[in-house]
Amino acid sequence: MTSADHHPDTLIARRVRRLETLLEEKGVLSGAQLDEIIDASLSGASPANGARVVARAWTDPAYKSRLLADGTAAVRELGFMEGGFQRLRVVENTDETHNVIVCTLCSCYPLRLLGPSPSWYKSEAYRSRVVREPRAVLAEFGLNLPDDTEITVWDSSAETRYMVLPRRPADTDSMSEAELTGLVTRNALIGTAEL
């Protein structure tokens, strides 16, 4: 036995493999099935999807109204299904207000629109603190908001997921929708960055 065998990651990897084998032996599932499911669970999930929604809202006021009124239906117009059963609510940043999302209880997140969540989103530090001291937390991300900007923190749940509609950067009037899409970052969609 080498020292690597004692590493916690090696131990858990071995237990996961053993469970897979056990479930195959019991006929509960097959390894091939699992590979397929792993591929399917992340395919099509990307922050580029959220970016497309934002760029459309910036360039089409009617779409923006629909997006803010019913996020679930509006993203479906662009071909994105965000969760089978959850509601998507899109919250708009303005000159006076800034929004940021969290899931204090665990890790709820609009996966299809934002891609896999970053580790910090699932961390105890982010989950516990952003609802108590959002200004300090945003500063840790390098986002220093003016004192008079009102910050709203949205706590996701099993039923409702949130996405931030960031402010459109200045001097982008001549940009196409596709070019605007390229400006939108994952953290801006969470609210831990501006553009």
Binding site: V16, V28, S41, T104, S107, P116, Y126, R127, S128
Partner: protein, 93 residues
């Protein structure tokens, strides 16, 4: 009883590691665990709410000592034992 996952507003967790990571998984076993979760849920071995409950009812010390996907794995094992799919101890060395 308060559950350990209910940490909104709790103090003492320190600074946030804001490192930008774009990799969804940091080890192959993490992806396998997510695959197991999706496969077992698709076969109605358990549902999402039972899975959440299994994570949220972990003893506080265990919850805090385990990584995100370790909790997923432990919850899957808990549910499989509860449902009689595997026997307690069947995964042990």
């Amino acid at each position: 009883m308060a559950r350990m996952n209910d940490i909104g507003g709790m103090q003492g967790f320190g600074p946030i590691d804001t490192t930008e990571d774009t990799e969804p998984f940091h080890a192959d076993w993490e992806a396998r665990v997510v695959g197991l979760f999706n496969a077992l849920r698709a076969q109605d071995v358990f549902n999402t709410n039972e899975f959440r409950d299994a994570i949220e009812s972990m003893p506080p010390a265990e919850y805090l000592a385990t990584s995100y996907y370790e909790r997923w794995f432990k919850a899957i094992c808990t549910l499989l034992e509860r449902k009689g799919v595997i026997e307690p101890g069947e995964l042990d060395d």
